[in-house]
Structure formats: C-alpha cells, structure tokens
C-alpha cells in the first residue's frame, strides 16, 4: 500500500523534507497575486501536523492497556506515572490534532505538538542509546516496526514543521476569529 509506505519512517522523513524545501521556496518567492503560497503551505502544514496526531491515536484511544505496555517498555517514565500517561497522552494528541486541523486554538495545538515531538524524540533517543529492542509505539507506522535513528530524525522533522506552524502569522481555512488590533 502506498499509504503505508508514506506513513513509514523513511516515507514520512521524505515528505517532511519535501515540505520544508517547498516552504523555503515559498518564503523566498513574493506573492504575485492575492494568493499567498507560503500562507497556503502553512495551512497544509497545520492540517498535516493535526492529521498526524489524530491518525496516531487511532489504536491508542480505545486500547489504553496495550498502549500502557508500550509506554512502559521505554522505561522512561516513573512506573507510577505510566498508567496515567497511557490514558492522558492519546487524548492530548487527539484534541491538539483536532485543534490544528480545524484551526481552532491552533497555535496552542502547535505548542503541544512541538512539546510532544521534543519528548518523543528524547524518549526514543534514550531508548535507542540504551539498546532497547522495542517498537516505537508511535501509532503511525507498522506497530512491529522497531525504533531506529530514522525515527528520531522523523520526530525532529515533525518538530520543525510544528515550529513553522507556530511561528506563522496566519493560515487559510480557520474556524477561529481573527484578532483585531
């Protein structure tokens, strides 16, 4: 399936790199018409980041027991916090993703997206450096896929996308009222 290949670590890394290159191009090019390519691209970034978060929760939301074992495998959190994290994290991802997709509180959603990506990349690096032979538990790729350096790189690219969304001034299609001076 093409979709599965895109959602794998190499596929998502490639997509992110292409998107960031496009952004660099759109940032340099001045809008010739009323259509602003950078603004449109930022809108896509925002919806894409939101989609990633919502999509990654599809298995975690309804099966917290399984997600708890995946969180526990990292040995990253204190054991007492693992059940709470397994319950709360998927819903944080879901609501932040929905906010980014719908354009409501999207800047707050972008902050949470960036914070999550920072934590995930650190947790994966930590697990990888300790040689833990565990699955990512990210909910994007095949569940049996093991963590690699590419997983860390992928999360850092996601972080770059999230920061680009957060620092953008405005995007198209948003249900949020614009701010007046």
């Amino acid at each position: 399936m093409i979709f599965d290949k895109i959602m794998s670590d190499p596929g998502l890394c490639a997509v992110c790199v292409v998107l960031l290159c496009l952004w660099a191009w759109a940032h340099r090019a001045k809008p010739q018409t009323s259509f602003d390519a950078e603004k449109a691209l930022m809108t896509f970034f925002r919806v894409f980041c939101g989609f990633l978060l919502v999509y990654s929760t599809r298995d975690k939301l309804l099966d917290p027991a399984h997600f708890m074992t995946e969180v526990d495998d990292y040995h990253f959190l204190p054991t007492q916090l693992v059940p709470l994290a397994a319950v709360v994290i998927p819903w944080i991802e879901f609501f932040s993703g929905a906010a980014l997709m719908l354009g409501v509180w999207w800047r707050g959603g972008a902050i949470i997206f960036c914070v999550l990506m920072l934590i995930y990349s650190e947790a994966i690096t930590w697990a990888f450096m300790r040689g833990l032979d565990i699955g990512c538990g990210c909910g994007l790729a095949d569940p049996s896929e093991k963590i690699t350096w590419l997983t860390v790189f992928r999360d850092l690219l996601f972080l770059a996308l999230g920061l680009a969304v957060f620092f953008t001034k405005e995007t198209y299609i948003s249900f949020q009222k614009k701010q007046n001076p």
Binding site: A86, F95, R130, D133, Q179
Partner: protein, 214 residues
C-alpha cells in the same frame, strides 16, 4: 449624530505584540486541561479502561506461595514439628526482607564466567525478547512473571551454591536485580547481576543464541 467608527481591518497577530504569548500558551493550557479531563472521564466510564493506580508486581503472592511450599515440605518430613499457620506468614515476610548486597559484574566478568562454563545465566527480559536473542545457555526468567517461571527455574537450580548471573536490558533496568533478589531470598548464595545486559553483550559481538528456553 456620532460618527460611525471606521471598521478596523483584520490583521494577523505579531509574534512580539503584547498578549501574543499569553494567548498562545493559554490555548495550549486549555487544550491540555480539556484533554486531561476528557481522558479521565472517558477512562472512568470506558469498559476497557485501565486502573490509574500503579500495581506493584505480585511479589507477596509469590513469597507466600513459596513459604507455604517450604512449610508443607517441612511438615511432610518425618519428625517435623507442627507449626502454627501464623508462622507460615512470618516465613513469607522474612523471605521478602533480604538485603541488597548483590554483586554486580561487568562485561569482562560476564564473558569470563561464560567462557569457564561454570555459571548459569538467567535472562530477566520478556520471552519474546529472549527468543530474539540471548546469551547461549541462558534460561528465560522473566521478572514480571516470576511466579510462572519460578518452579521451572528453581527445579533447574538444585545446587544452592550454583554460580548464577542475571541480566536484562542493561542501563537502569532493574529486572535482573529483581530476579537476583528473589534467588537470594531462596537461599542461593552466589547470585550476581551483569550490569551491561544483553545490549552490551550483543554489541561486543559475543556468542548469541535464539529461541525459547533450552
């Protein structure tokens, strides 16, 4: 008649304008609180929800079981004195309160013991991790399910003075230590923990085996 105020055009917020950061952080905070409240409520009413309170491994049950077993063995011996059932519970309590004077060994020590072939290696990791790769000759003694593995392992280790080396993921993994403590409680005198564990062993390129318990 007062003049109608001119319509103020919409404009995107500036990053450095007052109120931008509080607004953005406020949105993030709102989302966070909303998610937490919804998650806790959902988990409370969801049929497959989990208990938020951490449950410690069932060590107590195991020690009780072993204490009972030891008491039964003693009772079945000819001439053994009958004990009050309360002493069984106290035996379990005594078994669980051992010190942590377990010796840790490094990669060099573990390899040396492996080469001498006089030590028994116990792998405290999950069965699937054990099957994917382990030190040759090691037995899987998954620390989270000690009560399941203990009868087999204890029957294999008939000599209480056997040289035993426990290992797991290395780093701050405490699974091997849990196994080692358990074995010390069972009066095994030479129990050590190999700190580097399987990741260090496999990275060193030392011999490895795959598959379930031999």
């Amino acid at each position: 008649m007062a003049p109608k105020p001119a319509k103020i055009p919409d404009r995107p917020p500036s990053l450095f304008e007052p109120g931008f950061w509080p607004k953005a952080l406020g949105e993030a905070w709102n989302l966070f609180i909303l998610s937490c409240v919804f998650a806790l409520l959902f988990n409370a009413f969801y049929s497959d929800g989990i208990e938020l309170k951490y449950k410690a491994p069932k060590k107590i049950y195991l020690t009780d079981f072993l204490a009972q077993k030891a008491a039964q063995e003693k009772a079945s011996r000819p001439g053994a004195s009958k004990k009050h059932p309360a002493s069984v519970a106290s035996a379990g309590a005594a078994a669980s309160s051992t010190d942590d004077s377990i010796q840790r060994i490094s990669l060099v020590g573990a390899k040396s013991k492996f080469d001498k072939k006089k030590s028994v290696f116990l792998d405290a990791r999950k069965p699937e991790e054990f099957q994917a790769g382990h030190i040759p000759g090691a037995y899987n003694f998954y620390s989270e399910e000690q009560d399941k593995y203990a009868p087999t392992i204890l029957s294999l280790l008939s000599d209480k003075a056997a040289d035993i080396v426990c290992y797991c993921h290395g780093g701050d993994c405490d699974m091997a230590l849990r196994d080692a403590k358990f074995l010390r409680e069972q009066d095994y005198t030479h129990v050590e923990v190999y700190l580097g564990g399987w990741p260090e062993w496999s990275k060193a390129g030392y011999p490895a085996s795959q598959g379930a318990n031999p």
